[in-house]
């Protein structure tokens, strides 16, 4: 059976959820061979084996952390040469997309970014994408070379599928360009203790209607009652009420949770672009004309300062 390379997104050996989702998709096309790079690479093996990786290629070198993107492209290129895969799958993070695109050019292959589904096809993998702020769904494939495809979080379930997951060292010789962009310093993001925005099953967002940084406590309380991540519109971020890392939309994060709750958000096209593929959408807005109501499964026309705390109390009561 053909092998499919899966690029592993991990933090010091802890595999991030979108990579496990990629393994589910990779198994539809062939046998997943994972590629894990940098500090802790070998520690990823057991989680990857549990979810279907037949092999885990690992490489660690200071270059992966000290220089931007290119060392990882060199490593993936080496993996492609070693394995001759039927496809290369990467998560749709900003960095992995850049790695994917440079790799694709080097190996003379087409690239598809931000797929939301993937199936095997007669002429190679067929990727589903959601375009024009999710107004259209397209089906595409790579027509030249080895398909390189990046997949958005929450595009497939995480499935247990035990496999060998044999660890093999990948030998990488870095290109002359690998050390072109130096990472002078790196400050890890502080954890909020809440689920990761792009990975969360439920996202609770606040917009301009929240009217102040201190009022985001109301949004956070609802999120915590549901075990959800907190998001924000650009208006709320630009006002300085919530960090940019929580922005949902075209120039923020793209989320696709089971449930999205928009509070005091009008539903501008750029916001929709980042949340319209959510399975169930709920909104609280005092303006019944707000465009967000065109998207909702359930909407409450009302003041969020009344509705949201009541909702939080009721959720807590029901959960007991």
């Amino acid at each position: 059976m053909a092998e499919v390379l899966v690029y592993v997104d991990h933090v010091d050996g802890a595999v991030r959820k979108p990579t496990l989702e990629l393994l589910t998709l990779a198994r539809r096309i062939g046998e997943p061979v994972a590629v894990a790079l940098g500090a802790g690479a070998a520690d990823t093996a057991s989680a990857l084996a549990e979810h279907g990786a037949v092999k885990v290629l690992t490489a660690d070198a200071p270059e992966f952390a000290d220089y931007l993107v290119v060392p990882k492209v060199d490593a993936l290129q080496a993996a492609c040469e070693a394995v001759s895969p039927a496809a290369v799958l990467l998560p749709s993070s900003a960095e992995a997309k850049e790695i994917a695109a440079r790799l694709a050019l080097r190996i003379g292959s087409g690239i598809i970014t931000d797929a939301v589904d993937l199936e095997a096809g007669d002429e190679g993998p067929v990727a589903t994408q959601s375009v024009f702020a999710a107004a259209f769904t397209t089906k595409s494939r790579v027509s030249k070379g080895t398909p390189v495809i990046t997949v958005k979080p929450n595009s497939a379930p995480v499935e247990a599928a035990p496999a060998a997951g044999a660890v093999e060292a990948l030998s990488v010789s870095f290109s002359e360009k690998a050390t072109g962009t130096k990472v002078v310093s790196r400050t890890p993001r502080e954890s909020t203790g809440r689920p990761e925005l792009t990975e969360a099953a439920i996202v609770v967002s606040g917009g301009r209607g929240v009217n102040g940084a201190e009022n985001f406590a109301i949004i956070e309380a609802l999120a915590d009652s549901l075990g959800a991540a907190v998001g924000a519109s650009r208006a709320a971020v630009d006002a300085g009420w919530y960090p940019h890392t929580s922005q949902v939309g075209q120039t923020g994060k793209s989320v696709s949770p089971q449930l999205y709750i928009a509070n005091g958000i009008s539903g501008a096209i750029q916001h929709r672009a980042g949340m319209q593929t959510s399975k169930t959408i709920v909104a609280v807005n005092k303006d019944e004309e707000a465009p967000i109501f065109e998207l909702v499964d359930y909407g409450v026309v009302g003041d969020l300062f009344e509705v949201v705390p009541q909702l939080t109390e009721e959720v807590k009561a029901r959960k007991g």
Binding site: A94, R102, A133, G180, T251, L311
Partner: protein
């Protein structure tokens, strides 16, 4: 010596318009107004600020696109760029990121450059990968997705807010940079700027000028193929209630019915 900055700008259909596909599954440009991609305005702005700090700098704005794309160049010139290059050719219709990056790379090399500045993504394609591919093609460092950028003594520095960490980056020129919408609001063209832009040079190039063969670009030679595009079915109209004191409870009941609680 003068700092030569090339800013890549894209002419895109207005995101608030009714965008759809043409019969060949490329973007239908006929029914929607076009404009300079808002995300590329940030690139023009950073170029202007870097040029201000430099002793001597020249900003060229570059676009690959149809005849109307001149509007995007005019806007960038009226913001303060010095000159423009427009690559236009009938054979370019339907070109993908690999083809576009080839054309941009050749045009940038022909123009001469120390620093290339791109936007973070185009508002129509939204791949956000072209700057990285361009750096690969040009064989120079990529310093991308910056929320802060500065140039000093032949070095470009910037801050990249990544998924899990914030990084400070540094590379020697020549380099390819892309900037995010966190890099600072773009200026509006002044009346004087708009008048001055009318006299600024716009150079037109075609594929032959760039030694690119027709079979290296265009829809037929794209490395990916769109097989179908379907309009997403309108979401079935949801339930909308007016809060009369019980709105939160009603919403909780809905969430419980859907098994979220």
């Amino acid at each position: 010596m003068s700092l030569r900055i090339v800013v890549c700008v894209k002419y895109v259909p207005d995101a608030t318009g009714d965008r759809h596909f043409a019969d060949d599954l490329t973007l239908d440009r006929d029914d929607v107004d076009g404009l300079l991609s808002e995300l590329d305005e940030y690139a023009v702005e950073q170029a202007l600020q870097i040029a201000d700090e430099a002793d001597d700098a020249e900003i060229t704005v570059l676009t690959v696109g149809p005849d109307d794309a001149k509007d995007a160049l005019r806007k960038a010139l009226s913001m303060g760029a010095d000159k423009a290059v427009h690559v236009e050719d009938d054979d370019l219709h339907g070109t993908d990121v690999m083809g576009t990056s080839l054309v941009l790379a050749k045009a940038i090399e022909k123009t001469g450059y120390d620093l290339v500045i791109c936007g973070m993504a185009s508002t129509d394609g939204v791949m956000g990968v072209l700057p990285a591919v361009l750096a690969e093609r040009l064989g120079v460092p990529q310093v991308t997705l910056l929320s802060e950028v500065s140039v000093e003594d032949g070095t470009v520095k910037g801050r990249r807010d990544g998924d899990t960490a914030t990084e400070q980056l540094e590379a020697a020129l020549p380099a390819v940079v892309s900037v995010t919408d966190q890099s600072g609001e773009a200026r509006y063209p002044s009346f004087k700027g708009i008048m001055a832009a009318k006299k600024k040079p716009v150079e037109s190039l075609d594929l032959e000028d760039l030694d690119i063969e027709a079979d290296e670009v265009g829809l037929e030679n794209a490395w990916t193929k769109v097989d179908s595009a379907t309009e997403r079915p309108a979401r079935t109209a949801g339930t909308i209630v007016k809060d009369e004191g019980e709105g939160g409870k009603q919403l909780a009941a809905f969430l419980a019915e859907r098994k979220f609680v």
